[in-house]
């Protein structure tokens, strides 16, 4: 049972990858950049999902995948032109397929009308001449007229060749969920086929094992298709069958005259055919030099194919290993330990007064480099390109544009930028929200766009890039920009700010992040449930990221998310407060300064400091964390100016700054719970634990808010 479950899990994992490649292919089709390989890969993806789904009895999934696959097959065979013209149906199908997979995995069930609607749409796309043959009709299949009408084939139509194909499935073929009928049917579409089934191996009913394949087929195919095209039919089952394809130029006359006639020996012993074909094949190989150039690549392909199948285990396709994330996490933890240990060793060396050029020190330095390299490599295992996430956003854009009636084009750049898997997973929800917002609120309606002289099609741009050790993801629209007057009006109406507040454009934009803020008066289906940007911001903050807005009236808005590359390592400054070492994230630090007495002022009990004409509240870290009573003399300390993700600035007083280094983040929640003022913990070189200060903690922000009005008055007056 558990074995079956694990296979099931594997299936769903594979589905995820297949859906991704499906999306990728559809994007290419959409842009009209799809080549035959792309369409093949799209087809393969759907086909594999269908196969797996069949094995697990997900009937809904199978039946829909089948219809989808049929259309894709038509495209693949060139019977349906210009797939980009009905790309929307393909996208919807891909979306539904994804949903059906999710439903099969135990998600929300899909309304049946959605499936049936889409199936009827797909069926309506089917060209009328398309074969709708049943398996029973297989043997007397009539070749399709269009194959000869097609300009592509008209040149080669004269060079029709008769192929003899011996197809003997192995038992593994059925085990892998393949169906011979499908293959034969497909083969028959290539030309005039005479298919003879060899039932000589069929045992008596009593000893027949239903999962074994006793049948083999001898096919005479009169077709203009190349050997490769025929081989492609069997692409999926290469490993699972004995396949012999031989083209018999000599036999052309005989068979084309009487294609319906059975071969002389109707049921010959299998071995005999086998020998015959092999011989023919060999002879063929010798003759090949004289065969017209159009068919020359065939054996070469054949050979390379054989090579590939053997190579694939060693150097062919990029080899991947599926590894449980937990194992990687354990490895990362261990590497973290190694880093700490290495730091401890370095500390020992510093304390030991060993000369700097001893072998020990050299070895230690090498260890340090190695440790860092190992750490980077392990982190890279967890890193994944943002591509899959961005592709999911493509769907969000489609749905949002359909719901709002806005014509939207999604541009994506930097999709190969890699981010930690966990970051990626937890980014999905906030990004979805932001993309919806961009379509719903950011872009104008087509009419409005026309009035302001823009193309009616709005553009949403998703971009990812690495910037100074962080990942920056931008969601931009070319809409009207943030309507600041309306933002202010709403904020005043909702009592978020007072009438007299004089806010800069940036401060106005930042109001969007306040809880309960929503500028759209009527609640739309899409966004505007009042849980908008503040939820996004807290989700981003929880990832150690920041979000900012850049908006130009009339030109559009850009929401930028800046995230750490990984959640496991942080650049921090080690400081000391009341004999306790603390770590302050470098990302939050604006500057450090040594204060002089003239800088300090007090407002009631609140100490503030003037830094470049700005009043910044001062937080006595030792006191507020409960380590010691309030300090009498502030000037003996070092001030560190911090900024929260909200842009709230405050200065903390510390006793000393030790150093700046990369630290492995340890969760406090695992064994304890949340700690006031601290986001997490880390282990220092001496093996002791140090808390990592959270500049967004209420302890500091609340402090600041308590004096907001005071400092404003001072600044204004």
């Amino acid at each position: 049972m558990s074995n079956r479950d694990s296979i099931r899990d594997t299936f769903f994992q594979e589905c995820e990858e297949l859906l991704e490649s499906l999306q990728e292919g559809l994007t290419a089709i959409d842009d009209d950049t799809a080549d035959s390989e792309t369409i093949n890969s799209v087809f393969r993806a759907v086909h594999s999902i269908k196969g797996g789904a069949g094995a697990f009895g997900f009937d809904d999934l199978v039946s829909f995948a089948h219809e989808f696959e049929t259309i894709l097959d038509e495209i693949r065979n060139g019977r349906l032109d210009q797939p980009s013209s009905f790309a929307d149906v393909l996208w919807k199908s891909a979306d539904l397929l994804g949903d059906l997979v999710a439903a099969a995995a135990g998600g929300v069930a899909i309304e049946t009308h959605r499936t049936s609607d889409l199936i009827s749409k797909l069926v309506s796309l089917m060209p009328e001449t398309s074969p709708n043959s049943n398996w029973e009709q297989e043997a007397e299949f009539q070749p399709l007229a269009f194959a000869f009408d097609d300009p592509l084939f008209s040149d080669t139509a004269s060079e029709e060749t008769t192929y003899k194909i011996l197809f003997q499935p192995q038992d593994s073929m059925f085990e892998n969920g393949n169906e011979t009928a499908v293959l034969l049917r497909k083969l028959a579409t290539l030309g005039e086929a005479t298919i003879i089934c060899d039932i000589s191996q069929l045992p008596t009913f009593q000893i027949l094992e239903p999962e074994k394949c006793y049948l083999s087929w001898m096919i005479e195919l009169c077709s203009s298709a190349s050997i490769e095209e025929i081989q492609d039919v069997f692409e999926f089952v290469e490993q699972d069958c004995d396949l012999k394809i031989s083209s018999t130029q000599d036999a052309l006359n005989d068979t084309s005259n009487a294609p319906e006639d059975p071969p002389p020996e109707s049921n010959p012993p299998l071995q005999l055919i086998n020998d015959n074909i092999t011989q023919q094949h060999d002879v063929d190989g010798d003759e090949l030099e004289q065969i017209p150039p159009t068919r020359a690549p065939a054996p070469a392909r054949d050979a390379s194919r054989a090579n590939r199948s053997s190579d694939s285990k060693t150097a062919g396709a990029p080899a991947t290993v599926r590894v449980d994330v937990e194992r990687i996490d354990k490895l990362i933890n261990l590497i973290g330990e190694l880093v700490v240990n290495q730091a401890m060793l370095s500390q020992c060396h510093l304390d030991s007064e060993l000369s700097a050029d001893s072998d020990f020190v050299t070895g230690l330095d090498e260890l340090k480099t190695l440790t860092r390299d190992v750490q980077d490599s392990v982190m890279a295992i967890r890193a994944q390109p943002v591509k899959s996430l961005f592709q999911r956003m493509a769907r969000i854009v489609r749905e949002a544009s359909a719901a709002t009636g806005k014509d939207v084009h999604l541009e994506i750049s930097g999709e190969l930028t890699e981010v930690d898997k966990t970051v990626l997973e937890r980014l999905a929800d906030p990004l979805t929200h932001m993309v919806r917002n961009a379509v719903d609120h950011g872009l104008e309606t087509p009419e409005q766009r026309q009035i302001s002289g823009k193309p009616t099609k709005g553009i949403i741009h998703l971009a990812a890039a690495h910037r100074s050790g962080r990942v920056v993801i931008d969601v931009s629209d070319d809409g009207a920009g943030i309507n600041r007057a309306r933002v202010l009006e709403t904020a005043i109406r909702k009592n978020l700010i007072s009438q007299n507040d004089n806010l800069s454009p940036e401060e106005t934009d930042a109001l969007l992040f306040l809880p309960g803020f929503s500028t759209v008066t009527e609640i739309s289906n899409l966004s505007g449930r009042g849980v908008g940007m503040d939820v996004v911001r807290s989700a981003i903050r929880a990832l150690g990221g920041r979000i900012s807005i850049n908006s130009e009236p009339g030109l559009g808005s850009t929401f930028s998310i800046s995230l750490p590359l990984t959640l496991a390592v942080l650049d921090g400054m080690v400081v000391e407060v009341a004999q306790q070492k603390l770590v302050i994230p470098i990302a939050a630090i604006i500057e450090t300064l040594l204060p002089n007495t003239n800088n300090f002022h007090s407002i009631g009990h609140q100490d503030v400091i003037f830094i470049r004409d700005t009043v910044i509240p001062v937080v006595d870290l030792g006191n507020i964390l409960g380590f010691r009573p309030p300090l009498e003399n502030l000037t003996k300390c070092v001030l560190i100016l911090l900024e929260s993700d909200l842009g709230v600035q405050f200065a903390v007083l510390v006793d000393a700054i030790h150093d700046q280094r990369q630290l492995v983040i340890k969760a406090l929640e695992e064994n304890y719970g949340e700690v006031a003022g601290a986001a997490a913990a880390t282990i220092l070189g001496d093996g002791r634990i140090a808390l990592i200060l959270d500049p967004n903690d209420r302890l500091f922000i609340g402090h600041r808010n308590a004096v907001t009005t005071d400092s404003r008055q001072i600044a204004n007056g």
Binding site: E337, I624, N671, Y672, V675, G677, A681, L691
Partner: protein, 156 residues
């Protein structure tokens, strides 16, 4: 240090007995991960009195509880003579600061008597029973109540 002696009441050792403020307590041996000497802790801001701080236990952040404060007794200044018992309760690992570990006991279930009604208010919640032998009384501690001194792990 008192010699750890194995009592002969049962074949399997099942409790770890320790001493706090001249009282004897014991916990289920299966929940004890290790016993280690005192190491300086990192103080946590605004933590309950019974939470001394956190230590690094081979890469994990483990909170240390002052057992005597948890009992409602006076806090002690930990020295190198103190002992930390690392226990696992559900998925949480915590350390208990005690005076010393006295014994590994083998106690039959029927030797555990119910807690008397008159226990000190606040502590009866985590004393699930008492064991008496050789004119000694050992209180059996319910660790899941001890852990409540820590804020609950944040739901993830």
């Amino acid at each position: 240090m008192q010699q750890a002696t194995q009592t002969s009441q049962s074949n399997e050792p099942n409790f770890v007995a320790f001493r706090v403020a001249d009282q004897e307590y014991c916990v289920d041996i299966m929940s004890v991960r290790e016993i280690r000497g005192w190491t300086p802790v990192t103080t946590l801001p605004q933590a309950p009195d019974s939470v001394l701080g956190v230590i690094n236990l081979r890469g994990s952040v483990v909170p240390i509880l002052d057992f005597s404060v948890r009992l409602g007794l006076k806090s002690q200044n930990p020295t190198v003579d103190n002992v930390i018992i690392i226990v696992q309760v559900d998925s949480q690992t915590i350390g208990l600061l005690v005076d010393e570990v006295s014994e590994i006991l083998s106690i039959e279930d029927d030797a555990i008597k119910p807690t008397p009604e008159v226990t000190y208010e606040g502590s009866e919640a985590f004393i699930t029973g008492v064991i008496t032998f050789d004119s000694r009384m050992i209180r059996l501690v319910d660790l899941s109540f001890i852990v409540l001194a820590c804020p609950q792990p944040a739901p993830r």
